[in-house]
Point group: C2
Chain length 245, copies 2
């Protein structure tokens, strides 16, 4: 069972209270997870963090810190952003059991991403993650404590891993390898007048969603990059021949 | 959905840290539960409790205190003890989803019972509850924080209540009404030499389990009491006739 859970990483974006980081470590270890990444967080070596980690202080010590979420996701294949909100740029929200299945059927490093205690994840954070999930909760008080939210997902992962068959898994490329494709697409699509140069991200967010859902592997990525190189070339050469600017 | 969750009570036995009580309130409210009972606990009006309850401070204020678990269970029908251990007197352990189903198919006040942060529930506590449940967790670190354990069960209740059909529910008698039957049975079974008077509880624990699983309703209880009154009478009269002591 543990080999299924081993590559799954918990990422906390700007956690504010050391005690919460400690409690997250304990919840992770309770459910057999061990990899923690912190993005621009508070001091996780604080005595409060150690106190709440109890016997999971080893996870705290092994936590890896990053300056940005993009850096923390660079080697991650499937990343699931957890959110309470559904808005303009929000997409389908998975339930915790669905999120567990989505992570367990991938190989490579996968991640669950949790936002700040007060504001959660920003729209920019969400657009970096390949999927989104939420915990069903009462309308009266919907906001869970950070460590409680982490526990629910880890509990569902633990349950699902116990039943996970040893089937071959797909290997999507990590997020860090997709960003150059998105940049290339954005540049080309602006050049050919498809994207509004004043606000190219509006449509690009939808394009990102489409390609995230497609879970591109190495070959898929090469095909997409080749396709947009060709579009770029064709646009330049065809417009020149027609004498367009 | 809320009418299914409304009668479900969380009982904390001797909680030691006010902060945990506060976090329990928040977790309960997150998942639509509202009834909290405390048995011989620490001061739940402490500022730490209020701080961690956040927007669920109303549950904290409405918490009802009892001196003993037996008193807290007196009007409860199905009560599920949560435990990490399985030992001599331990019985089948339900998973959290199974526990949720067991509570939702009953009417009347039902309860989930959680023990002390350090030692959990005692054997005496367990023998007062009608069923037992445990949270599957990693062998490396099996012990969950109290509020985390409460959250898992409340989360499963919330999920199950969302799908619960409006079918007629059975109405078992509350635990407080079963205790006189157990006392009657114990006395009679000692009198007829079935129970060892040095340790009548050893077999009585198994008898309690049997009748708890049977979920006696009002008529079942009358039948059992009548049966043991008759056994008592017959034992007295038959032994007298035979000249036995």
């Amino acid at each position: 069972m543990s080999q299924h859970l081993e590559p799954i990483t918990i990422i906390l974006v700007e956690p504010q209270f050391p005690g919460n980081i400690g409690m997250v470590c304990r919840a992770m270890k309770n459910m057999g997870l061990s990899r923690l990444r912190l993005v621009a967080g508070c001091n996780h070596r604080d005595s409060e963090a150690v106190k709440f980690a109890v016997a999971a202080v080893d996870l705290l010590e092994q936590a890896v810190c990053f300056n940005t979420l993009a850096e923390a996701l660079a080697d991650v294949t499937t990343s699931i952003a957890t959110t309470r909100r559904s808005g303009k740029y929000r997409q389908e929200l998975l339930t915790p059991p669905q999120a567990a299945q989505a992570l367990l059927r991938q190989s490579g490093t996968t991640a669950l991403v949790f936002g700040r205690e007060d504001h959660g994840l920003s729209t920019a954070d969400l657009s970096l993650c390949t999927l989104q999930a939420t915990i069903p909760s009462s309308g009266e008080l919907g906001s869970l404590n950070l460590a409680q939210a982490v526990l629910i997902f880890c509990y569902e992962l633990f349950n699902a891993a116990a039943l996970a068959p040893d089937i071959p898994q797909r290997t999507p490329v990590p997020s860090g390898d997709l960003e150059p494709l998105f940049e290339q697409m954005s540049a080309t699509l602006q050049k050919i007048g498809y994207l509004n140069p004043q606000n190219p991200d509006h449509i690009m967010r939808a394009v990102r969603r489409i390609l995230f859902r497609a879970e591109l592997d190495r070959r898929d990525l090469a095909i997409m990059r080749g396709m947009f190189s060709q579009i770029d070339w064709a646009a330049a050469n065809f417009s020149e021949r027609k004498g367009q600017p």
